[in-house]
Symmetry: C2
Subunit: 384 residues, 2 copies
Amino acid sequence: MTVTVAKGFVAAGVPAGLKKSGNRDLALVQNLGPLNAAAAVFTTNRCQANPIIWSKQVIVDGEVAAIVLNSGGANCYTGAQGFQTTHSTAEVVAEKLGVSAGDVLVCSTGLIGEQLDLAKLTSGVAAAAAQLSDQGGQMAAEAIMTTDSVSKTASHLSKDGWSIGGMAKGAGMLAPGLATMLVVITTDVVADSKMLDRALRAATRVTFDRLDSDGCMSTNDQVTLMASGASGISPAEADFTSALTEVAMSLALQLLRDAEGSSHDIAIQVVNAATEEDAVEVGRSVARNNLFKAAIYGNDPNWGRILAAVGVTQAAFDPYDIDVEINGVSVSRKGQPDQSRDLVDLTPREVSIRISLNAGICAATVFTNDLTHEYVEENSAYSS
Amino acid sequence: MTVTVAKGFVAAGVPAGLKKSGNRDLALVQNLGPLNAAAAVFTTNRCQANPIIWSKQVIVDGEVAAIVLNSGGANCYTGAQGFQTTHSTAEVVAEKLGVSAGDVLVCSTGLIGEQLDLAKLTSGVAAAAAQLSDQGGQMAAEAIMTTDSVSKTASHLSKDGWSIGGMAKGAGMLAPGLATMLVVITTDVVADSKMLDRALRAATRVTFDRLDSDGCMSTNDQVTLMASGASGISPAEADFTSALTEVAMSLALQLLRDAEGSSHDIAIQVVNAATEEDAVEVGRSVARNNLFKAAIYGNDPNWGRILAAVGVTQAAFDPYDIDVEINGVSVSRKGQPDQSRDLVDLTPREVSIRISLNAGICAATVFTNDLTHEYVEENSAYSS
């Protein structure tokens, strides 16, 4: 069901021939209304793909009728021709669905610097438009996969009769600002675009933004939220935001679990920080430390690498009053070894790092993966 | 010859039993004068090892009589006992050489969070002191190796009769601020500690500080420069700084070539930047991008990953007016593909990336390595 779990949405996923594999590579999601309110957040990378440049203009008025997504090419650094391809794709969608091209978001994912085949996109859009259905969510979720090994979907059904559904793709370049990915979330609540924007930013801040698989930020990230109003219900903003955050966290953790070549999912919990920003900075620094990540891959509780990563941040702390736990074992306290590192069992996939800065009452958790042979393998032969 | 190429210095390297292998693991370098001027730069990591805390105090008065270095343990996060070990080591050196403990620098390298064996250090210092000789430079260079596959030394002999000699260790955790390493450079020029400090900072700024093998900054980095004055010559400061920079660059590039598990040495030259700081920021961002580094390992000229790394910086540029060359092939110009990526030959070990920001006249080169299976292998099983 995914994006079609919410009333008022239809979707489809088809093979347009962009992927050499012949797998589904084009997804279309249409909002049938009665509302067409929407919000979106984009990569903060300054080198942005053509669909990002296009979609940022589309979202300005808070109205979106449909979103089209393709894998098989990022359409980034493809110049004027590439932008024209994005524009034309939106126009083809608009024509097929009888909406305005200015209300059609476009997302692309794949290799940078290669032109997309507009003819394939055009026929793919036609095929997808013909197959749109309220059962099409799963097909759409499959069509946006690149190196993902599984499709990612999530939903929330409220007791009151409104719902949220989502799909995501991303299995590498998961990074801050936005974990690299395309995400589409739909809802049938009655809400205006301003409230959707507030809720979406609140939800992404503690979910997708806390995912830092490999420190690399994509040129194509986009998270979109669309509301149809088809439930006729206006939930309290706090309730909606909470449910949206739950759906976003589910999708984020699915992205983490499927990150390229990973063998451990690592939750870095930073507590007793002076500010939440400090906690995030420390968590991110550890999440990006290749030596730490390689050690976890080797099931090696080398806690010195954690402290070395903490030490390069500007967060408030006394370097000799930091406590570190790995999977519940207190390996270092107040600048000294505590329990033996030999007590730490790193064989399970889930790894919990707890860093207490002893400088305040704030906390944050950053999620990352280990650095593995398989990561190197997948990413050393991507474009070839 | 290395550190003993400069007149007025004796050195030794001995096995003290700190390394399980039984290899040389303790080095001692003594300045016989007549001067004992010195300068040093240290890791900017806030989590600092005990020898760093000690040595920062020793260097304050600009006088150093000797430096003792051990591999086989970092003596970091080892608490009061660990600091006492550093202090005692300096005192043993002072006693053996008839100098003040307050003029003895201490450096350590190895695993964080393990106590060093003071009895082994003490007997090692005694053995080294007994073997000090003006032929001992190479032994000392070998004694500071950890995962290094070769010892690193360099020297400069001026026509005027003064000289500079150096040794370095480091083959991982090579990072900004200081590439992780221990470096000792000696010279027989007549100079005061203030001039040595200026020259050392000028030299490290464009050499060791531009090395970013894996983005991980050590808790134990130290670069020390000692002057004996034994040549009786006071070169012009500019001439000395230039020669010192040459020696430092030679050592830095040797560190790069021996970085753990690397298969490519990558020079990232950023040109036409608005400021040198911008050029360094951009170079560093690319140097730390795991996706880029894995692509180079796979001989894959995936230039989109370079632009994606440039795009996350705050440097001045127009994202669609950046030119990228890989090994002399112009792969992207003004936001579009230029020559075919298939023309790029990445089989040689040396890789040259040239990024033109087209925003000014400044430039900088940052050096890094690729991300390889061997890097993951070496760093996933270090402490075990």
